[in-house]
Every structure is written in C-alpha cells, then in structure tokens.
C-alpha cells in the first residue's frame, strides 16, 4: 500500500493537471497594476485636496462629518447599488465553536471590546483556530445581513504570521505605522478578496508580545463614512477600546 503522503501527491497531480494559466494573464496583471496605481494616485490627490479644504473650512467639514456619522444607516444606499464584495456576501448563521456563548460579543477569547461604532452588534458568528480566533459585528436587526466590522485575534505562534504580514506591507510602502495610546499599530487598506472594490481598511494593534488584534471594516461599510480619515478615526476608537485579558 502506498504511503498516505505519496497518495496525496498523486491525487493532487491528477486534480491539477487540467489547470493552465490563462494566455492573457500577463495583460491582466499589467491592467491590475495600472488600475491600482491610478487608485493610489487618486487617493493621494483627494487626500491632498481634503487637507487643504480642511485648513480653509474646518468648521464646515467638522459639521458635515458629524452629521454623516450621526446617521450611518441613512447612507447604506451606496452599498445597495454595488455588487456585494465576496466578504460582504450574506452568510448563513453558524454557532460559535470553542469560543462559546459570547453573550453580547463584547468579550471573546482573551480580549474585551470597549467600543463599537453606533448601531453595530455581535453578528453571532465566530471562528476559533486556537491561536487565531475571530468574530464579527453587523447592524442591529440585520441578522442575515453583511458584516460591518471583523476583529481577528492572533496569539502566541500566530503572532509571527501577522507581524510578517505587516512587515511586507511596510516594505511595499503600503500603509503606515501608528500609535494608539501607548500601543503600536499599523493602518493599511487590505485587498483580501473584494477585488474591484476599494479594499478593507484595517488596523493591526499590538496588544502585547504574545497578542495582536486585526480590526477590519468591510469595503461596503467603509463607504458609509465620509472618507478614509473618518474610517481611520473609527478604527482607532475600536483599537483604543480593546483590552487584553491574557
């Protein structure tokens, strides 16, 4: 009888033999590159314009932002016209496994959540891989709806994975180092399966040598805010409210 490992190799070979890279793959990669470069350029120009407007008309911007933020549900219309990102596909409700009954979802694993944006509540969905676990939050009464915020926790061995990911972003000059109180973090827009959309704004927070948090907004939820700065402000608030119970 062949060894299991050899059999796995043989079966994998049989399964993948039919796969061949698309002839236009290189063209598509180049198009993606150009689109990304254009997006970054637009974002930089927009940020620059917003910064100059803020200097001239700071009170107006403040009032507009406050008004938008006070009624986030009124702006969901934006998402209704968009093709949902993969990460925003309505999920089937699942019961949490090892994380148990999270109650209101504000304490799970070795972390307590002290702040959530207005209107969000625990989605009742969680996942536990031991040294990596996660849960998410969505709007009240939207049980079958999209997730808005997801918090992923990395502990012990899994910490290396997240710090290496941050290092890669840093090397690619994608995102920025930030401080949340006396804790360090990293702000970046990740592209994790919602291609064609603006990406998922994310804040990584170092909660200790053996624990990191990854807080991420769904691309559709991020669109409900007035801009990247408003999203980052909310991400920072959530990060500030996280307390380790390790």
């Amino acid at each position: 009888m062949p060894r299991l490992e050899d059999e796995i190799r043989r079966l994998m070979e049989g399964e993948t033999a039919r796969l061949h890279a698309a002839p236009d793959l290189l063209d598509r990669v180049m198009r993606l590159r150009r689109a990304r470069r254009a997006r970054v350029k637009t974002a930089m120009v927009t940020a620059s314009v917003l910064a100059s407007v803020a200097v001239v008309a700071a009170p107006v911007v403040y009032l507009a932002t406050a008004a938008q933020r006070a009624t986030p549900s009124t702006q969901v219309t934006t998402s209704a016209t968009l093709e949902p990102a993969i990460d925003d596909t309505p999920p089937v409700r699942t019961e949490p496994k090892n994380l148990g009954d999270l109650g209101d979802g504000l304490a799970f694993g070795h972390v307590k959540v002290g702040y959530l944006p207005e209107g969000l509540r625990w989605s009742t969905r969680s996942i536990d891989h031991g040294d990596m676990y996660s849960t998410s939050y969505n709007y009240k009464g939207d049980a079958e709806g999209f997730y808005q915020v997801q918090i992923l926790m990395y502990e012990e061995e899994a910490v290396r994975e997240v710090t290496e990911r941050i290092q890669r972003y840093r090397e690619e000059k994608d995102g920025e180092d930030v401080m949340i109180g006396d804790r360090s973090g990293y702000l970046v827009v990740q592209h994790v399966g919602e291609d064609g959309m603006a990406g998922s704004p994310t804040l990584f927070l170092k909660m200790g040598d053996r624990q990191w948090a990854e807080i991420t907004f769904s691309p559709v939820y991020a669109k409900e805010f007035s801009g990247a700065e408003a999203v980052n402000t909310e991400l920072r608030k959530i990060a500030k409210g996280l307390t380790s119970t390790m």
């Binding site: 399964e15 993948t16 180049m30 996660s134 899994a158 990911r165 991420t216």
Partner: protein
Amino acid sequence: MNGAEHDFGSFVAARATSLLRVAYLACGDQTEAEDLLQTALERTYRNWHRVRHDSPEPYVRRVIINAAISRARRRAILNIIPMHSPPETSAREKDSDLVHVLMNALRALPPRQRAVIVLRYWEDLTETQTAEVLGCAVGTVKSQASKALAKLRTALGRDIMEGACDNAQA
C-alpha cells in the same frame, strides 16, 4: 517593453501554470485560484526591482499561500466556503472519486493546515522551508502536518487507500 517588463513576462510565461496549481490546492477553487495568482503577480511586479535578482518564485508562492490563508480565515467566519459532504463509501471506487474526497477533505482543513499539506507534499518543501513561507516555527509545521494528515487519512479511509493501491497497480 523595458527590461524589467520583459523579465517579468518571461517569468510569468514560464511559471504561471505551476503557480496556478499551487493556488488552486491552497484555496480549493479554480476561480479563486486565478484571482489569487493575478493578485500575487501584481504584487510581485510592484516589487520586481527587488525580487527579480533572487528567485521570484518563492516570493510569489509565499504571497499566494498567505493570501489564501488570510482570505480563507475571513471567509470561514462567514461560512461561505463550500463544504461539500463526502460521497458515500460505495461511490468511492474510482480514482476520480478519491480526488473528489481529497479535495473536499483539503477544503475542510483549517487554512494553515491546508497550506502545510500543499507546501510539504505538493511543492516538496522541507519543514524548515515550509516554516519560512508560513512565518511559523518548524515545530508548528510538524504538528499542523500531523493533524492534517490524520484528518486526510480519516477522510480517505483505509478502504479508499486499498482502492487507490489497486488503481495504482492496475
């Protein structure tokens, strides 16, 4: 086309199919694999000035594997990864059924365990190389491989292994 674009184009032409197969095994879905590969290549091209002088393939492979893990973890919480039920034992006689069972079992593994299996037994990386790709300790690779193999052994089943043996000898 400048020198960098030409080099990158040659690399894609030579290695894209092999990398697509890694992506497919890492995520279990062809469309997703194509997207993973495209995204990984775009990121590679962005850093081509740095990676072209070394062997770019390990870099792309690392991006693919880690992106697959990241996506799978985020999707797992939304429960949208297709988890097909394994076929009945009586239907597992042909090799194609075995492949089906294996792919379903692979999809059902936690993302990091699936990545370990792909890197160790498809890419033939050593435990140390696998640990480098995944950014974890060698001991973790060993334990994850052991757990994953136990699950695959259960999924494939002893009778399946005997059937595979017969097929291999035929």
